[in-house]
């Protein structure tokens, strides 16, 4: 890429101080995202993907959270160094966010329209009349039927899919340059998930926004993302274009994860599994965090954390044993 990325996370570390202990939820996370692209952040629960996305919005509660190092550069400015007032201007303005649970992330005592209007008047300084028109326009854009009357509905009057459409309208109201979607379709049924993913793709093309899609679902990643970051236990273990990740997965965790996904196109008898579970964030692990579940792990793996190394242009892996074939 010849132009600078819109978002650049470099060596991010986030800690939680609970009781007398310090837990590193995220360590050494680096990623970058260009305008008009969709980046998938994929991993299982506890891998740090949500902490990473919340950090970009500076929404990790402090205390007990604490940004222990690194930088998050958005349009060249380090978000970790901004004041809370400056951050508040960005949130819902230049950076929009969609959460997993639209029922708990919309305010139940305000109408859908009022919530979008509030965001518009705060960030874009629109008059009440203009904000109202724009809110209805947004609801129409996200495909809510009869948007003018729906704007007067409260969140509980809408179905899950409709609520998620309102969330998207809210996140996109101020034309954000960056949209962070944290498991936007996980709570939805497959037919509604397909509708919402289509909508997000359409809107991205129309607005040219960059999208960071946080998900546990490799199917969703394959359908929507340009690039992928795979996370495991607070670390980035692999980073590649979507095509390269699926055709040429390198990290033993990525391989295991992909093989564990049941495929709708075939019944392959037993599913491949990754024995064991993700280590808890308080576990003191000196080496590779995946070593305890990795059949290829050596003493070297258990002693020293592998850095992200480039195996092919644009394809980086944090594994001492990569490429795996060489270990056979």
């Amino acid at each position: 890429m010849d132009h600078a990325p819109l978002l650049e996370v470099e060596d991010l570390a986030v800690e939680f101080r609970i009781g007398g202990t310090v837990q590193r939820a995220v360590q050494g996370v680096s990623l970058s995202l260009h305008s008009g692209k969709t980046l998938g952040v994929v991993g299982e629960s506890g891998c740090g993907k949500s902490v990473t996305s919340l950090s970009i919005m500076r929404l990790v509660p402090q205390p007990p959270g604490h940004y222990a190092g690194g930088a998050i550069r958005f349009k060249g400015r380090d978000l970790l160094k901004l004041s809370e007032t400056e951050m508040r201007k960005l949130r819902g303005g230049e950076i929009g966010m969609i959460f997993q649970e639209p029922m708990t992330s919309l305010n139940p005592v305000y109408t859908c329209g009022a919530q979008i209007e509030e965001s518009l008047s705060v960030h874009s300084g629109l008059s009440r009349k203009a904000a109202r028109d724009r809110a209805v326009e947004m609801l129409d854009l996200v495909g809510l039927p009869s948007p003018r009357s729906r704007a007067d509905d409260y969140p509980h009057q809408l179905s899950g899919g409709q609520r998620q459409r309102v969330m998207i309208a809210l996140a996109l109201a101020n034309d954000p340059a960056l949209l962070i979607a944290d498991e936007p379709t996980t709570a939805l049924d497959v037919t509604i998930q397909a509708q919402i993913l289509d909508l997000m793709g359409e809107l991205r093309e129309r607005t040219g926004a960059a999208v960071m899609l946080v998900t546990h679902d490799l199917g969703v990643v394959a359908q929507t993302c340009d690039d992928v970051v795979v996370m495991y236990a607070g670390r980035v273990v692999e980073r590649a274009s979507t095509a390269a990740l699926f055709s040429d997965p390198q990290h033993p965790y990525t391989v295991g994860l992909m093989a564990a996904v049941p495929r709708i196109g075939s019944a392959a008898g037993r599913l491949a599994t990754i024995p064991g579970t993700v280590p808890p964030p308080w576990a003191k692990i000196g080496g590779c965090r995946f070593a305890s579940r990795c059949p290829l792990a050596t003493d070297h793996c258990r002693a020293e954390d592998p850095p992200l190394a480039e195996l092919a242009p644009g394809h980086t892996v944090a594994c001492w044993r990569a490429p795996i074939e060489a270990a056979a």
Partner: protein, 353 residues
């Protein structure tokens, strides 16, 4: 020969009451006229979106909810007519596993207590041999004897689900209703639990009613699949047929909407529109017609009956005439993935020996 489990015309309607007099103002038709069989050692999957009534089917057939109408027989015994005392005996033979193992395990009981309770209650163990039986159950479900003294909160989600499975298994049931048993689990753990359920079925010949919204999991678990829409079965077929030649437009849209872990298989067709209608006020005619791409005038007025078609049963006016599609097409996993998986598996086997 009759099947192990026979469900006939199962119906569950919930009255909706309002006002001081609690007058009935409507009826939620959660489940209507559902019939199916499950054989010994066989898995029937019940698939549908949230609110379609699939969990109600599971609960009603175990009499956790009393049905409005319909019969259920297990090994020839009519479950619905049983008096309370005989019903307790019956419950030994039919068990349930829930989606959320945390919500369904008593947080104040250790795993040993949770597992010992059904054993002692049903007279399957005495206080002297119960410990050994609990340990054996734990081992069957991939847990260790030292897990017995722990409380549910000390376990990960996957381990908790193993405890839930061990509890269901304690009474040596003939039938287990699995209500979304892997939906709350991470992919790698989900695969472990799916494999465990299959192993237990092979070992003990248990019949499963496997309730799920995830078609890919169903494809791996089930022998037959019943697709439910708004409380009724709209299609039922052996698993291979259902995925190769889905007949009902709703089944097709479900299969098409499932995201494939394959970037080359990006969808081209538009997803089905709209939401699941309310079971309080179901559309007239075919319940799927407001969302159906094939709907014609007839579908709006006349409800299609579930009728046999080859090895399947389908409720669609156009089941015979509509062109069939290869809805479940998907590329196999990449060559590099397969090759590397083999390396990992080989290394793992070497590790274990």
């Amino acid at each position: 020969m009759s099947a192990m489990l026979e469900v006939r015309g199962l119906t569950k309607h919930f009255p909706v009451r309002r006002g001081v007099l609690r007058r009935q103002v409507g009826t939620v038709q959660a489940v209507t006229d559902v019939s199916f069989d499950v054989n010994e050692g066989e898995t029937l999957a019940i698939v549908g979106e949230s609110g379609c009534g699939k969990s109600t089917i599971g609960r009603t057939l175990l009499r956790l909810l009393e049905p409005t109408a319909g019969t259920v027989s297990l090994d020839g015994t009519q479950v619905m007519d049983l008096p309370a005392a005989d019903m307790r005996e019956m419950r030994k033979r039919m068990q349930i596993i829930f989606q959320d193992p945390f919500g369904s395990l008593n947080p104040r009981m250790t795993v040993a207590e949770t597992l010992a309770e059904p054993l002692l209650l049903h007279g399957l163990a005495t206080s002297s041999d119960v410990k050994g039986k609990v340990d054996a159950l734990l081992e069957t479900c991939g847990l260790q004897p030292w897990h017995a003294g722990r409380f549910p909160h000390e376990f990960s989600g996957g381990q908790r689900q193993r405890v839930g499975i061990a509890r269901a298994l304690a009474t040596r049931p003939r039938l287990i209703v699995c209500d979304e048993p892997v939906s709350a689990l991470d992919v790698s753990v989900q695969a472990q639990i799916v494999n465990l359920l299959k192993d237990l079925q092979t070992e003990f010949g248990i019949g499963y009613v496997f309730i799920s919204h995830d078609l890919a999991v169903v494809r791996h678990m089930a022998a037959r699949v019943a697709v439910v829409y708004l409380g009724r079965i709209v299609e039922e077929a052996p698993v291979a047929e259902l995925f190769a030649t889905p007949r009902h437009p709703y089944t097709r849209s479900l299969i098409a909407a499932a995201p494939r872990p394959d970037p080359a298989a990006r969808k081209t067709s538009a997803p089905v529109e709209g939401d699941l209608p309310s079971a309080l006020n179901p559309p007239p005619g075919c319940a799927f017609h407001p969302r159906c791409p094939l709907a014609e005038a007839r579908c709006r007025t006349e409800r299609p009956v579930l009728r046999p078609l080859g090895k399947a049963r389908v409720a669609c006016h156009f089941a015979e005439t509509a062109p069939t599609t290869e809805a479940a097409a998907e590329n196999p996993p990449s060559e590099a993935l397969t090759r590397r998986l083999q390396v990992l598996e080989a290394a793992r086997q070497k590790e274990n020996t």
